[in-house]
Amino acid sequence: MKRITEFITAHPYDLPVRISHWVMAFSISVLMITGYLIGNPPFSQPGDASDIFLMGTIRYLHFVAAYFLTAAFLLRLYWGFVGSRESRWSEMLRWDGRFWKHALDEILALVWPVRPWRLYFGHFPIAKIAYVFVYLAVAFSILSGFVIYASAQYSPLWRFVAEWGLKPFGDNLNWVRYLHHWLLWFFAVFVVIHVYLVVYMAVRMMTSEVEAMLGGYKIIRREDLAEGEEVESVA
Amino acid sequence: MRVVVDPITRIEGHLRIEAEIDNNVITDAYSSCTMWRGIERIVQGRDPRDVWAFTQRICGVCTTVHAFASIRAVEDALGIDIPPLAQALRNLIIAVQYIHDHVMHFYHLHALDWVNVPNALKANPERASEIARSLSNWPNSSPGYFKDLLTRLKNFVSKGRLGIFANAYWDHPAYKLPPEIDLIAVAHYLEALEWQRHIVRIHTFLGGKNPHPNFLVGGVPVSVNLDGPAVINAKVLSEIKHHIDQAVEFVREVYVPDLLAIASFYKDWAKYGDGGGNFLVYGEFPEGQLYDLDRLFFPRGAILNHDLGKVYEVDTKDPEQVQEVVAHAWFRYSVGDDKGLHPYEGETEPNYTGPEPPYEYLNTDGKYSWLKAPRWRGHPMEVGPLARMVVAYALGHRAVRDKVGFALKKLDVPVEALFSTLGRTAARCLETWVIAEDYLPDLYDRIITLINSGNTGTFNGEKWDPKTWPKEAKGMGFMEAPRGSLGHWVRIKDGKIENYQVIAPTTWNAGPRDAKGQPGPYETSLIGTPIHDPKQPLEILRTIHSFDPCLACAAH
């Protein structure tokens, strides 16, 4: 006798979360590439410096992407207080006993793929941890980036940012630059793991996480739902 | 009675002299350096290519020399040869450093021991002009010039604010110059202050600034491109030439005549200030690579006990020759403080045992200085211009023999007069004269010839990458700094500084006693000097200043 499969439609990611995610994903990609080039500039052909503006253009792109990233981040920050339950910081940071049990579950399922894979209305548990660090890193890159940026701007406001923004870094601009630079590699490693896991889930579980991030909805088989996930958030 | 002079002023750094005086004669003396930073420790673990910048900050007066000794040590350790133009440009920097440093020492640090500023106010400007014109062709010598200066000085003094000239030993009877010569010297004090700003521009062209110009392991940081707008081109070369001419003229027309004129009033100072008669010179101005020792313009060698008949060979890498002792220095050796250590094995472990400040006297029976006591084959050695002139003279260096001979004749004193306060001060001037006339112009021509022949490379980058270095290496960079022989000994391991030891000229001269109780040259030079008034120990200043102390160098 076949069991009836019950499907649940979840709506974990509000529009602002989705917009901010894709703007961030795009701008961080641009920032990584342009940032890498700023730190390791490609040697250009000899010629009259006034005709070429290669480095200038790269930096320009970096700054444009930086503004997009900042906007997206601020939007996400705000939405974490007012948005749907799954997009709230309270949920993101709810690292209680059940959460750790789920995290262990997830790890075991990765280590031993024969184990069943559980699904959630919102983020996967390990991913939550990663996102918290990603957001910290984003905040830090924005902070350090704007301190460096301000150091080359000479209006009173920017001078203020440059002078006082340097204080937490021990009044040491080069230190800020080093930290800003090293961040690149944090993002690079994160993106590889992140995209892999997203694709992995899609293939292994045929989940619709990506669609959820794109269109907002995902469809979950009730029996795949992790133990204790509350049903009331079902859309 | 014990007389303390602390601070010894008009020197670089923190020097304290304690002298025992009996019947108005110094019977014993102690030289103490009272500041230490630990730069030998600070460079440990750093990249050998960067270390010149650290060691350079040992001193901002002889601001180039520790950078040179450092890059030479690293180049020696890693086997880096530098292009001929780089060597010539480095020599240019060194030559300018000598001239700048010696002139400033004479006028701004030493002169006030002999020149009485208030006494200059009594001068007759016409008479001063006459004397000045009889001494040299220097253009600033009109009666009007001296009159204006006198007015300016009187103006300055009349406000009762003597600034840096206040409260000196101006009533001391040992000041002997006529007011006109005092006035001329004051004029040149101010002119030299002005002049020096110009000639250091040569360092600025080549190193970007002075004090503390930039250097580079493997060459020099500047590039030559006669058609380039940004680097060394004809404009820069002609400015350099202009300043060389200015330097040569000032030495020839101002410094040398002033020295000879002033010295002729103080010939009694040829009796005092003998530093012991041992002289050490590492050699300077390499014509080829650094270790082509027989191609050094100032030759290497050592002299013991005033004996000009024998010049000993010097090997700075021989563990038996150069050693440092910490018996009376505020340091500790793992092998025991009575042993000497060659700098390759050197240790820098501070161990202050002196009195708790504020204090009145040091305990001179124990440790009493931040300087180690360097010894050559166990002997305390004097280094510096006098050592260089004496060794070159003994080896028959033509230019040195000519100029030293000229001065001895002019002052009508025997060769032995060199071993004194007066001799030391004169040797510095004569050395400057030799460099200005017999070295610098030729050097400039050589630079132009090299550039003309297409030899424009200034950097050898073959061993720039640490991957090309051996796992372990050691090297020694020597140089003749203006104040004397300077050595940096470096050990490199896994691309990093493992041990770094510096012995500076003033360490040799100002160092304390060793384990056997042998005093250093400063200490020796003071013994036997009469002190007219222990409350105004001008005599101590004269002799100590004749060495041109630099304590930041000495202690590092």
Partner: protein
């Protein structure tokens, strides 16, 4: 007295006519720096002349854990030159490197000055201050630097920390800081401290700070690091003459290469101009002769706090990190980390695929066996709780 009068008065003095011209150039520069219009030049000149006529402010200069590089630098000042400054602008009442008096006489002089000008003295400090072991690493006349400073502090109008050592601790403070060296701001609490960093400080900046006081009878405006804004408001990189090459992406890759001969940007050989505030590029050194970057060497960032440790290494854009076998740059390590991550996820993907197909194979076998027994129940992946 009108400006014309001043000019005439000045022209009368045949001494060092050139210096007069330099002097006016200086006044002009002061005007620009201080944000005044060119019409202020005669006023500035007059103020300087006035200071020369009546009381010059008392300046005392103390040397501690220093190399005298800032003293030397001070003597290279352009307008006024140090000779003019000493005779006409300030009364340098104590400076061990230059003063005639020595020993007890020097100490005596210091005491007199402290008494006579108490509250009006500008105290210039050169060199760091050692704090370890009760400060015994630097004493003058038997007293430690700290003891001397504490004695002088009540009498000072303000302190000027010249050079990176006095301002931030500088080289004595570099790792491992053997003597516990600190900058002046850590010692002086009750009086203003003006930081004039640089190793050494630029002569014209030192002079301008003093002259600022002579001119306006007040101290210059300072930024958050207590540096005078007129000198430390811009970065080297933003005033650098090689900047067009930076924007074009034209770099010196190795000393004396093609780019070096063309005067390309020194970023890739470690230039710290992008992170350094100083006047070098704008004012240059030694009467416009040059400045470090112009002469082909990357800026070391010598006016920045802790540059010996944190603007390090000098010839690399990003530091090498020890402990990775051969020295590796942060970017090399990053690339390796990235590569390893890639390999790990690749391996995991493969691993999952293998385990999964093995599972499917086992299922197939099992279901074949089931068919044999005739029992049939739909089995779902993850069916057991």
């Amino acid at each position: 007295m009108s400006a014309i009068d001043v000019l005439e008065k000045l022209e009368e003095r045949e001494i060092e006519e050139l210096n007069r011209r330099e002097f006016f150039k200086f006044c002009g520069r002061m005007a620009v720096l201080l944000g005044l219009s060119q019409t202020a030049i005669p006023r500035i000149a007059r103020a300087v002349e006035k200071a020369a006529r009546d009381g010059r402010p008392s300046v005392i200069w103390l040397n501690f854990q220093d190399c005298a590089g800032n003293t030397e630098s001070f003597t290279r000042a352009t307008a006024p030159s140090v000779g003019e400054a000493l005779l006409d602008h300030v009364s340098l009442d104590y400076h061990e490197v230059l003063m005639a008096a020595a020993g007890h006489r020097a100490e005596e002089r210091l005491k007199e000055v402290l008494k006579e000008y108490s509250g009006q003295i500008i105290v210039v400090v050169e060199g760091a201050i050692p704090t370890k072991d009760d400060g015994i690493y630097c004493t003058v006349a038997g007293r430690t630097a700290i003891q001397i400073l504490k004695e002088i502090e009540p009498h000072a109008l303000a302190f000027v920390a010249v050079g990176t050592c006095a301002a931030f601790g500088g080289i004595p403070k570099a790792n491992p800081n053997p003597t516990g060296a600190v900058g002046l701001e850590r010692i002086i609490r009750s009086k203003p401290v003006i930081n004039v960093p640089g190793c050494p400080a630029n002569p014209d900046v030192i002079m301008a700070v003093l002259v600022h006081y002579v001119l306006f009878n007040r101290l210059p405006e300072l930024d958050a690091q207590r540096r005078p804004k007129f000198a430390f408001g811009k970065k080297i990189h933003d005033t650098c003459e090689r900047r067009p090459h930076y924007d074009a992406g034209q770099f010196v890759l190795s000393f004396d290469d093609y780019g070096a001969k063309q005067g390309y940007c020194l970023y890739k050989v470690g230039c710290k101009g992008p992170v350094t505030y100083n006047v070098c590029a704008a004012w240059r050194w030694n009467m416009d002769a040059s400045w470090p970057v112009k002469s082909g060497h990357p800026c070391l960032g010598c006016s920045e706090r802790d540059f010996w440790d944190r603007y390090y290494p000098f010839y690399e854009h990003i530091p090498k990190t020890g402990g990775f076998g051969v020295e590796a740059r942060a970017d090399d390590i990053g690339k390796v980390a990235l590569g390893l991550t890639g390999l790990t996820v690749g391996a995991h993907a493969l691993y999952t695929a293998v385990v999964k197909s093995a599972e499917r194979f086992a299922e197939k076998l099992a279901s074949k066996a089931e068919e044999g027994t005739g029992e049939s129940e739909g089995k779902d992946e993850g069916g057991e709780a």
